[in-house]
Amino acid sequence: MNPLLIYLLLVKATLTSFSGMGSLPIVREEFVVQRHLITDRQLSTAVAVGRAGPGPHGLYMVAIGYFIAGIPGAAAGCAALMTPAFLIVPLLLYLGRYRENQHVRGAIRAITIAAGSLVLSAVVPLAQDAWAGPLPIAVSLLSFAALMFTKLDTFWIVAFGALAGIAPLWIG
């Protein structure tokens, strides 16, 4: 697939989100539901890859680009992740005074809440794909609890997931 198209589709998602994972619903809609370029399993894997290492939350876009088109796709994902950040320069120059406007802040707050809701909605089919038995369900619930109630780094949660997945093979 053309990396430019990957870039444009990912930028569309990032431009309508105000947090790293807020773009997830649109990414899933475009790449999984509409175009069938990746599967739910690959999307979940991309999220895990993005959270396993250091760096900004939106890194999963690099993994998505890689799964679709290799290194050029990853470069497109990387560029899509970076592009919206530069919008802050014209904001600094021309619109800084509006950042305290109550209507602007209300719009952003509402978009962010809606994005969080859509992330939850997008998790449902991903969970259906991942939950093949009681063990993955337990892993998901423990990961959720660890992130909500502790300051554990996501690297350790990914490592825990890998160990939990492989443990049944070791045990026999």
Partner: protein
């Protein structure tokens, strides 16, 4: 951002506290990942467009290379039984991560005078999505319009 503030404002004196506050405040209203917008702003303040590009690249590129390496390993060893088993656990963990991400995003914003409207937005957004009434993009745009009408509380001071 706190670590960057210490380094750029307190330690090196490359930015004033006011510049940091402006970059921090605007980063919150810039689309995409907030920390990248903050880096773009502070890089631009220090060294223009080149500084902005270098600042954002410095945060993204090393992590992106690591992500590419992990994806490559996934493709190389994906057929191996042990690797597949490990990945099934990783994917299950990712489901928990995504759910916590969604809840955290909502919990941070749906508070104060936005508690009830926020919960209504959550219910309406999920229903519209699950029932296939609107695309995610339209839901976000509609939320933005309604949020602009409702407005936000008076400014909470940005960190300085």
């Amino acid at each position: 951002m706190a670590a960057l503030q210490r380094e750029l404002v307190d330690k090196r004196g490359w930015l004033t506290a006011e510049q940091h506050g402006l970059a921090y405040g605007l980063a919150r209203v810039t689309p995409g990942t907030n920390i990248l917008a903050y880096c773009a702003a502070t890089g631009w303040m220090i060294a223009g467009w080149l500084g902005s590009l270098l600042a954002v690249s410095g945060v993204v590129v090393p992590s992106a290379l690591l992500a590419i390496w992990m994806c490559s390993a996934y493709e190389t060893y994906g057929a191996h039984l042990s690797f597949r088993a490990a990945m099934s656990g990783v994917v299950a963990a990712a489901v928990g991560m995504m759910a916590s991400s969604g809840v955290s995003i909502i919990r941070a914003r749906a508070r104060g005078r936005w508690l009830l409207p926020g919960l209504l937005f959550v219910a309406a957004s999920i229903a519209a999505m699950r029932l296939g009434l609107l695309s995610p993009l339209k839901i976000l745009l509609l939320a933005g319009v309604l949020g602009a009408f409702y407005g936000d509380a008076p400014v909470d001071k940005v960190a300085t």
